[in-house]
Symmetry: C2
């Protein structure tokens, strides 16, 4: 069932971009209610097509039917969440200023809100064929903003991408969304052309640092620079305190193994680096549990090869031990890898040991004191998440400050691979975790595709409907800086 | 009284950056109330020192004592506005999600807000020695966010920069702000080193496109990329409709002349391009009024030379006529320049005619129909502002749509050089007007210096005070996506 990428020729990319650019004025003119209807209809049709799509996705990605079913639900929930965001309306950040404006008589009052930036390009992720791909968070938030979207399919699930795009297009067509509001292209060259195309106003990307560098290089040829919203990689440090290791090593070991092997370890929030007390039984507990796990088929042959190479480099970074390193019979299968090293070796080889191995691998770093962990954390770049497992009586203030410096989500007594899809969720962090403050998860994802505009002294009949008195009556907004509820 | 730049040697830049980086943890830990006190004390001391500072500024910039007095007031109002923003607190975008979080029992609830990004670099503008310089909007919003600031002084007002910095430092010291929270460096090389310094987390810049390119080039050597918040240039198109030209050509001509020569035409919102009906008396009315104006001393000799060169290039772009082009007796003085051309010549030479001439020059483009203006506007890059002067009975819907595409502020029956400093004001626009969605004017300026962080399942005692139940009780925030007032 797995299908090859059908590389889009240049004229197809140009056509899709032109169609998206031509749809931009109608998307700009659409109402919040209309866009909410686009999103809920897409969610409905995806739910209906879920079983068929999941079968295609499982054949292409080996991520398992159960996991993929859950991901469809997450994806349609995301679409419906943005319908709610549109309905609520405060994302527009509407405001009216009269006090202190020029003239002093209200004739030059300032009415401001956020407006869509125009057509945008969305690059699908390998590891979330639904939630971060064709109809994922980037697409949902861009359509919600009123921006036409051209998606670049991921080669790891080419057929699923085509089928999902067909469902999206049909749903959008049913509710009268503008022609050209959504398109799909395939292949590496098409992706580079898409990012460089003049009408594209922003690029949203989830993938590897090398992939991002190729895109950013293509974008550097643009006459007008545009934002690059990238999520590029993350080792997601976890700290197990001495107290936690003493109190519940077995339980934490089981949870870690479940977390770092979830989805074949192909999660951007996979705990790839775990600081554990050297005197504890934690490492052995992890090793024992991993031995009994089955081998895993990774998303693509290329990802499997990259995983092997990265695992090899990590193993050669000084004094690193593989707790488990059986070889699988089948060349397509990878066994989970647990590496251990000392904090001293980590500090000596931190550059090499901070490489993200995308797949089922985690590195345990054995420390003597939490002070050493603080020192080590200072060497680590940005991650999407950091995690602390501790006991209530332990003083972790300094540790938490350090963890908060290095990530956008600090998890306590939980695991980073569980991501709640809620209004305030954040999935981002300092470079290279993400390249922008707001990302593809949570309600503020929409903000990436909007820019402020202020109307000064505008006659009511030329204002966008949301900024007229009648529109503001239905919107939470500010008046002279003070919040006014709808 | 004019003083030369005293170029900061490398070690001074390194010292200032290190001091700022060392101050970051204390700035992060400071309360909103403390930071509001920093800002109001700086405002107080600047107001007290106003007369002395204005005298220095006038000697260095020739911007006139009256204008500079007004600018001091604007600057201290900005500082106090950010104290209000801190007091109100919704800028933190605090939220709590319980519904739909992992576990389902509230043990892994998500508490999120925005936290400061760390030490930042601020580059002063030539043309606003107070409001966009040492203690201007960038500095005010960064300090409000909790970010230490290192300012690069502008060579056009070096002595004023030193004196202002001394006032700022003394005020911050009085109220116990952390040592190193504010610093100043001088000279081009120091500026490049500042932008490239690893501890600097963002660069805010107001200036020319070539200046920005030099900085961005220095920043491209960084191991970790950081955001560049730039305001780079703007021609600020104005459209006078046939109806407006017929009804009030004399009045509009007088207002245009006042606007494009304000501050020697050295405003980023100067109307540099004005579309006027070819059949009207508008151009002649402008020409007559300009003849009686005195010559102007520009901010620096370099700016004056650049102005002459740009004016020369504009005059040579095909069929361009200078309505007034008297020569001043004094080599330091520039006379205002009004150029006129036809819409056909503008379309033929639009690249050349869209150059921003920073100084007292405006280009009138004579059109036959508003359709021609729409065509011409499509050739124009982003501006900070666009403006329409029309009569109530005219249909300007298409025109307004076009103006809104090209700028971040659309002014109706007013002039763009008057900028209200209010909560919702916006001063930005598509490239090259600004490089980011949020800029140095208005309350959202603070957002540039903040990044989201989510705490998942955090024990109350490790949460930042604003995110505890007690803190949230004093903050407007969201709970499961719904607004809750303080």
């Amino acid at each position: 069932m797995t299908a090859e990428t059908q590389a889009s020729p240049t004229w197809v990319v140009e056509d899709q971009v032109a169609a998206a650019a031509n749809a931009a004025p109608a998307a700009l003119a659409s109402s919040r209610g209309q866009r909410a209807e686009w999103l809920t209809r897409v969610a409905l049709r995806l739910d209906e097509a879920g079983d068929d799509l999941v079968a295609v996705a499982d054949a292409e990605t080996h991520l398992s039917v159960d996991r993929l079913r859950g991901e469809v639900t997450r994806t349609t929930n995301q679409l419906r969440m943005f319908a709610d965001v549109l309905d609520e309306g405060s994302y527009l950040e509407a405001s009216v200023d009269v006090v202190g404006t020029i003239g002093g008589d209200g004739s030059q009052e300032i009415r401001r809100f956020l407006r869509p930036i125009g057509a945008v390009a969305v690059f699908s992720a390998s590891n979330f064929p639904f939630a971060f791909s064709v109809a994922g968070g980037d697409t949902a938030s861009a359509l919600a903003a009123g921006c036409p979207v051209v998606v670049k399919a991921h080669s790891g699930h080419a057929e699923l991408s085509r089928r999902t795009a067909a469902v999206v297009n049909q749903a959008l067509d049913e509710v009268g969304a503008p022609y050209g509001i959504f398109g799909l292209v395939e292949g590496r060259e098409a992706g580079l052309a898409l990012a460089a195309a003049p009408p594209v106003r922003a690029v949203a990307f989830t993938g590897s640092l090398p992939g991002a560098e190729a895109l950013m290089s293509a974008m550097s040829t643009r006459e007008e620079p545009i934002p690059f919203f990238g999520e590029l990689g993350s080792v997601n440090p976890v700290v197990i305190t001495p107290g936690a290791a003493l109190a519940r090593a077995q339980e934490l070991a089981a949870e870690l193994v479940a977390s770092f092997t979830l989805g074949g370890g192909q999660f951007c929030t996979k705990p790839g680096l775990v600081f554990v007390p050297s005197a504890s039984s934690f490492a052995n507990a992890v090793g024992e549990r991993v031995e009994s796990l089955p081998g895993m088929i990774l998303l693509t042959e290329r990802i499997a090869q990259s995983f092997d190479a990265a695992a090899g480099r990590l193993r050669s970074a000084g004094d690193v031990r593989a707790l488990v390193h059986g070889a699988a019979d089948d060349a397509d299968v990878r066994v989970p890898v647990v590496l251990t090293t000392t904090i001293d070796n980590f500090l000596e080889h931190s550059d090499a040991l901070l490489e993200e191995a995308f797949g089922p691998l985690t590195l345990l770093v054995e420390y003597r004191s939490l002070d050493e962990v603080i020192t080590a954390l200072a060497r680590i770049g940005g991650s999407l998440t950091t995690t602390a497992h501790s006991e209530p009586e332990e003083d972790i203030d300094v540790l938490v400050t350090s963890l908060a410096e290095r990530s956008g989500r600090v998890v306590f007594d939980g695991w980073p691979t569980g991501v709640s899809v809620t209004w305030g969720q954040h999935h981002g962090g300092p470079w290279p975790a993400t390249t922008s403050q707001h990302t593809s998860v949570g309600a503020t994802a929409i903000r990436r595709f909007l820019r402020p505009i202020a109307y000064q002294g505008a006659p009511s009949h030329v204002l966008p409907p949301d900024l007229t008195d009648a529109g503001l009556a239905r919107l939470p907004h500010r008046r002279d800086g003070k919040w006014v509820r709808a």
